[in-house]
């Protein structure tokens, strides 16, 4: 079969693009350490979250040096904590959000960032992110899955507290 020389050029170009796409995504996973949200958070009974050791009292729990767990319950139409009172996390720390829903499917997105997961009743979504010492002090939080009539009003806040001002009282422990 004769393949025209120009055709060989753009076939090679297309292959190069595909190889480039795969290479950059591989770099993101291996080099930059980007991970996907998976099901390792496990499952909970969404009807009895108040019996759960952490979801019954959602908030920020210390988990190690500069490592924190934040338990969040999403509901129609807000986050607990997040909406009534902001989620507080210390700057310069690695924070794992454990988010679940007690009614319908919601979304949990830190506005303008890649921190984003679907929140499904009965399932715990976990995402780990790093809050830099010199980073933003406050983030918005929103639901990005249509969850009912007041979905558009479902929002919250994350306050990043400087290490010097962080004290134990901000943790649920």
């Amino acid at each position: 079969m004769d393949i025209h020389r120009y055709e060989k050029v753009w076939l090679a170009g297309a292959l190069l693009l595909i190889v480039g796409f795969i290479a950059t995504v591989s770099y993101g996973a291996v080099g930059a350490g980007i991970t996907m949200v998976n099901d390792e958070g496990g499952q909970v009974d969404h009807d009895s979250l108040d019996e759960h050791p952490r979801f019954s009292e959602p908030g920020t729990y210390a988990d190690g040096p500069n490592e924190y767990d934040v338990y969040v319950v999403a509901y129609q139409f807000g986050f607990e904590p997040g909406t009534q009172e902001p989620i507080r996390v210390p700057a310069g720390s690695e924070v794992t959000f454990h988010v679940t829903s007690r009614d319908v499917t919601h979304g949990f997105q830190v506005v303008g960032t890649n921190a984003n997961t679907m929140v499904i009743p009965g399932q715990v979504s976990t995402i780990t992110v790093r809050f830099d010492e010199a980073g933003t002090e406050e983030y918005g939080l929103l639901c990005n899955e249509y969850c009912g009539a007041a979905h558009h009003a479902m929002e919250g806040r994350i306050e990043v507290v400087p290490q010097s001002q962080w004290n134990e009282s901000m943790e649920v422990s």
Binding site: D2, H4, R5, Y6, V9, W10, G13, A14, L17, G20, F21, T24, V25, G28, A32, G33, I34, T35, M36, V37, E94, T96, V110, G112, T113, N114, A115, N116, T117, I127, T128, V129, R130, F131, G135, T136, Y139
Partner: protein, 105 residues
């Protein structure tokens, strides 16, 4: 295909004999048609208004495989691939990896 069209038009020409109008059909450039054909009848006109068989059916110019030189197409594809490459780098390395918080676990 071409042969089929020719025979079809011959049939049509035959069937339209006696159509009254015996004006000569314009002969295509280089068509090499020996005699003037009668204007085709309605049956020989396709849906788009072309007289079936009126197209040029012989070879006008023969070129070798690699003499075909679509340099404009090559340039367009090169520009397109350059745009895709630049947009990919911008989207992945600037917008995505450069984003503030990123899921790392």
């Amino acid at each position: 295909m071409v042969a089929g069209r020719n025979s079809e038009s011959d049939d049509a020409a035959t069937s339209s004999d006696g159509g009254g109008d015996d004006g000569a059909q314009p002969v295509p450039d280089g068509g090499g048609a020996d005699g003037a054909q009668p204007v085709p009848g309605r049956d020989a006109i396709d849906d788009e208004g072309y007289a079936i068989g009126s197209g040029r059916s012989d070879v006008v110019r023969r070129i070798d495989h690699d003499d075909f030189d679509p340099i404009g197409t090559l340039v367009l594809i090169a520009i397109y691939m350059a745009i895709v490459g630049v947009m990919w780098v911008f989207m992945y390395f600037v917008e995505f990896l450069g984003g503030d918080l990123t899921v790392i676990g």
